[in-house]
């Protein structure tokens, strides 16, 4: 069977290389999502603050990031930042940087929406019942905010994972790039190599993102009441 899927995946180190590519994709996703959550929470709290200047600046930052396609940001940072700074930045560093800049903005907006959606009387009632400011925050505000926040954060996670193939454009050896390299070589002998390899990558992305989406929907349904 010269055109079989097995002959593509078993040839040489093809399967191992795809797994290495997948590992890079997973790493970029984990690093960007992790950093975005860590930076997005304080940014979101600042965004919901009453200080107009602080929230205004963050608002502008969010809108600027949102209006540009991520790929354009990636391209600009990769090809301009190295030139401007004089430091040769790796594709890995630039991708995590750009995805984090974007993820932080989106995360901050989610945090802002969650915090402002909690009625003021919740805090006031907690205080009236004799809870200290800290305990009111910790026992009343935070649990409710987290419930409203979590489905959105999980959603953002899948969006960020689905954005990772963009690093292909700056030649980082992620799953897509490795797949393309394998197809270029195997495609000469195996007529269906591109179908198998791209079909495989399609399936991998689906199998990563789908359970995460289901989790988000499940949490949303569970916490609705």
């Amino acid at each position: 069977m010269p055109d079989s899927a097995l002959s593509v995946f078993m040839a040489g180190r093809n399967m191992a290389r795809l797994m290495e590519g997948l590992w890079i994709t997973v790493w970029i996703s984990l690093a960007s999502v992790g950093l975005s959550v860590v930076l997005g929470i304080p940014a979101g709290l600042l965004m919901s603050s009453k200080k107009k200047i602080v929230s205004g600046i963050l608002r502008i930052y969010l809108e600027v990031i949102r209006v540009m396609p991520i790929l354009v940001l990636l391209f600009l940072f990769y090809y301009s930042l190295s030139k401007v700074s004089g430091i040769n930045l790796s594709a890995y560093f630039v991708s995590v940087l750009v995805f984090t800049l974007w993820g932080t903005a989106e995360m901050a907006d989610l945090v802002r929406a969650a915090v402002t959606s909690i009625p003021v009387h919740q805090r006031e009632s907690a205080r009236a019942l004799g809870l200290s400011e800290l305990r009111a925050n910790l026992l009343v505000i935070v649990p409710q905010a987290v419930r409203r926040l979590l489905p959105g954060v999980i959603n953002l996670t899948t969006r960020m994972i689905k954005t990772t193939p963009f690093v292909f454009f700056i030649n980082h050896p992620d799953l897509m790039k490795v797949g393309q390299q394998i197809v270029e070589v195997a495609g000469m002998r195996n007529h269906l190599a591109s179908v198998w390899v791209y079909g495989f990558i399609f399936l991998v992305y689906f199998l990563i993102c789908w359970p995460i989406s289901l989790l988000s929907r499940w949490l949303e349904g569970r916490w609705k009441s």
Binding site: V72, L76, F169, V195, F206, S213
Partner: protein, 218 residues
């Protein structure tokens, strides 16, 4: 800033921007149509089709556009289906777009309470009148912001079209890197996307306000 460089390449940027706009427009229109079709199938619980729609929506929403384009452009020809770059771009964009739009519209429809249907029917409205005058205005008020956000998302997703060999803005910007005026070409890239995306974003903000009136602020 080299003005002569900008003037020299401006027509090409215009052409590339036009390519992006026209493909995105077709993609968004097909996505919305597909979204209404899928949402309708789910809303009226049409057997078999609604299971197929569920599978489609999950696949469309949980895979990146780029891998779909790779599959369409490099995979399908090996199976004897040859699609040119433009067709791949529109098919790919509509495929993911339809799935997101279906969810957006379904969300709007499910926000309209059952009592609305019952009240409408008991007042003697036909099914069609009910849909036209009662369900849709309220459902759209909820769905429009999501539809707008999805349209803008799709518009931004067009930035990957250069992988199917389409001479879009990204393609041009990458090509111009070797001309040595990266500051100018990058600036034109950013300006071109701003010119495309900002009006669309403002248009949907306007529509949203209108729809909120129709839905009585629902």
């Amino acid at each position: 800033m080299d003005l002569s460089f900008i003037i020299k390449w401006l027509p090409l940027f215009g052409a590339a921007a036009w390519l992006t706009v026209s493909l995105a427009f077709v993609g968004v229109v097909v996505s919305v149509a597909l979204g209404f079709l899928c949402a309708g199938i789910k809303y009226y619980r049409i057997p078999v089709l609604r299971e197929l729609v569920s599978v489609y929506v999950e696949v469309g929403r949980n895979t990146p556009l780029m891998i779909q384009l790779f599959f369409l452009y490099f995979g399908l020809p090996r199976l004897g289906i040859l699609l040119e770059g433009r067709t791949c771009a529109i098919v790919g964009l509509s495929f993911i777009g339809g799935a997101y739009m279906a969810e957006a519209i379904r969300g709007g429809l499910s926000a309209v309470g059952k009592n609305q249907t019952e009240s409408g029917l008991s007042l003697g409205l036909s099914r069609l009148q009910l849909l036209r005058h009662v369900i849709m205005p309220q459902a759209m008020a909820v769905a429009l912001p999501v539809i707008g956000a999805t349209a803008i998302f799709l518009l931004k997703e067009t930035s990957v079209f250069s992988i199917v060999a389409l001479p879009d803005l990204m393609y041009l910007a990458k090509d111009l890197l070797k001309e040595g005026h990266s500051a100018e070409s990058n600036m034109m890239l950013v300006v071109a996307y701003l010119v495309i995306i900002l009006p669309v974003s403002l248009f949907f903000a306007f529509l949203e306000r209108r729809a909120r009136h129709a839905g009585f602020g629902a």
